[in-house]
């Protein structure tokens, strides 16, 4: 995926809506100068008041006056972000990074955890253009029902999976892939925990289907200046914030694989 020329800026955003369920939630920001520019797969670097570093998040919607993010609170920064009061104003760097390439054939989206954000955006964008889109979203339990409205916006067909069977089908979203891939040409987009992305990539490769994934790294600048967000690939070490975060799964070197030089 080619680098984009820098078009990002630091935009004002105001928290106008939020749904919180325990440590998870969806936050919607009004950001009239930024939201129209955001493409699926790109990310923003969000100011969290009181924190020195911003937090990278991949929008779950955009194009209009607002963008949403699907988030999981991990440590203090994301906890404070989830606790942000309605009406709070923050600065947001964006749009950052590259976008998902268009699909060949049907689009199969494999989503786990906060991968739901960028994939919901992609699903709705593709479905709006009349593409055939299937979303396979996996969760551990029933705690992610708050995501349903996100996916429901477009016309994508969405199948939910949960490990305990409490929400949708029982099992992992990747289990539905072989059948779908066998049914004809398709492009796989997988975003979620590394295990999920690797398994989706493996199955896609077995069916000669292209597979795109979104990688994560700890980031400081988000724009290529600090050299913190490295990841090994078959074409050498890349900086995720400008060379990614979206990669063709073929070129990704995963956690326990030896890096190539």
């Amino acid at each position: 995926m080619p680098r984009r020329e820098p078009v990002w800026n630091d935009h004002a955003a105001r928290l106008v809506h939020k749904t919180v369920r325990g440590a998870k939630g969806v936050l919607t920001f009004e950001a009239p100068t930024l939201a129209p520019l955001l493409e699926p797969g790109q990310f923003v670097n969000l100011e969290v008041p009181g924190h020195v570093l911003r937090r990278p998040m991949a929008p779950a919607s955009g194009g209009g006056r607002t963008f949403a993010i699907v988030m999981t609170a991990r440590w203090e920064g994301t906890r404070d972000l989830l606790n942000l009061p309605l009406g709070a104003e923050v600065r947001v760097l964006g749009p950052l990074g590259n976008t998902f390439p268009p699909p060949t054939g049907r689009a199969i989206l494999v989503s786990g955890g906060s991968g739901a954000g960028p994939l919901a955006y992609l699903a709705n964008r593709l479905a709006a253009t009349g593409r055939e889109v299937v979303v396979l979203h996996g969760a551990r339990d029933a705690s992610e029902a708050h995501l349903i409205p996100l996916f429901a916006r477009g016309g994508a067909r969405v199948r939910y999976f949960s490990e305990d069977g409490a929400h949708g089908e029982q099992g992992l979203p990747t289990q539905a892939l072989p059948e779908l891939l066998a049914a004809g040409p398709a492009t796989v987009y997988a975003v979620g925990p590394e295990g999920l992305m690797r398994e989706a990539a493996r199955l896609a490769a077995a069916h000669d289907a292209p597979c795109y994934v979104s990688l994560e790294a700890h980031m400081a600048c988000g724009v290529g200046a600090c050299l913190s967000c490295v990841h090994p690939t078959t074409r050498g070490t890349v900086h995720l914030c400008v060379d990614g975060p979206i990669f063709n799964a073929e070129e990704v070197i995963w956690g326990d694989e030896p890096a190539q030089h």
Partner: protein, 299 residues
């Protein structure tokens, strides 16, 4: 008369605000936001003779009021920079401080010579390990530091400043460097720190330890600038947690003739520009100048 104009080792800078090495790369990433010539100077990312791949990820993490980084000195090597980045940076009308390092005094000197045509000043990063000296950083060994200074002074006609580390006593290093002919100092580099991940039970950073920077270290930096100012007549470029006009003035009072903005650029990419503008507003209504604040806490 521009109240922010400041002479530093024979170079006149339009204002005292500099970017800190490693936090602004070679400036290209930020050049579409504001003209780089608006800043006093750009300090470029540390440059070595050959490319260095750097440390394994994660390379950064946040801490209370600060951040840790272990980039591991990743850079593309001096040839790439003298081809692409440094000429471009000079074309922008920016003043340029080139941050230089190497494994040996000779390597420092080699890089210094290659970058000199593009540099207003050279800044020597002594926090990198001295490969012929038990692997301790040059900054922990006054004699090794002095050798670097001598080698570089022989290789360049640009003014040379040495960047001091807060992880070792600074005065012995500063004295040895002065005796070796250094022209000025910058400080502080980062303080060694660590964060441990409660889930993996391992240090967060790939390199385990990292360098602490940001507002958290500001009092340590102010103290060291103040202390160094009492022991030297050489000019000082101060840094460590600077973001606001108040921060910059505090460093000036302590003795910093110029100030660098590092981590604050990650909090806000406009931070260096905003500091220039804030200082312009501050002095607009006054009869004194930035110069009058430098070292004033000692008078």
């Amino acid at each position: 008369m521009n109240p922010l104009s400041i002479d530093f080792l024979g170079v006149t800078f339009p204002n005292p605000v500099v970017t800190a090495s490693g936090t602004f790369n070679f400036g290209k990433e930020y050049a579409h936001l504001y003209p780089l010539s608006r800043l006093g100077a750009i300090t470029t990312k540390g440059t070595s003779p050959r490319p260095i791949p750097g440390a394994p990820p994660p390379r950064v993490t946040e801490t209370p009021g600060g951040m840790l980084n272990a980039i591991g000195l990743e850079n593309k090597g001096v040839e790439r920079y003298v081809q692409d980045e440094l000429p471009w940076l000079r074309e922008q009308g920016a003043r340029v401080i080139v941050n230089v390092f190497g494994d040996t005094p000779e390597e420092f000197a080699y890089v210094a010579e290659r970058v000199s045509p593009f540099a207003h000043l050279l800044e020597l990063n002594l926090s990198c390990p001295n490969v012929h000296g038990a692997g301790l950083p040059f900054a922990h060994d006054p004699q090794a530091a002095a050798e670097v200074v001598r080698a570089v002074k022989d290789a360049t006609d640009r003014p040379v400043i040495v960047k001091l580390s807060p992880n070792a006593p600074i005065l012995p290093v500063a004295e040895a460097c002065e005796a070796a002919g250094v022209d000025g100092f910058s400080l502080i580099n980062t303080l060694l720190g660590m964060r441990i991940d409660l889930e993996t039970r391992r240090p967060v950073l790939g390199h385990k330890t990292g360098g602490l920077s940001g507002p958290a270290v500001k009092p340590v930096a102010v103290r060291l600038v103040y202390e160094l100012y009492r022991h030297t007549d050489k000019p000082i470029l101060g840094m460590g947690g600077i973001r606001t006009v108040e921060d910059a003035l505090e460093f000036a009072l302590a003795g910093a003739r110029m100030v660098a903005v590092g981590t604050a650029t990650f909090s806000d990419p406009f931070a260096p520009l905003k500091l220039v503008e804030g200082l312009e507003r501050f002095f607009a209504g006054r009869t004194d100048t930035w110069r009058d604040w430098v070292g004033a806490a000692h008078r």
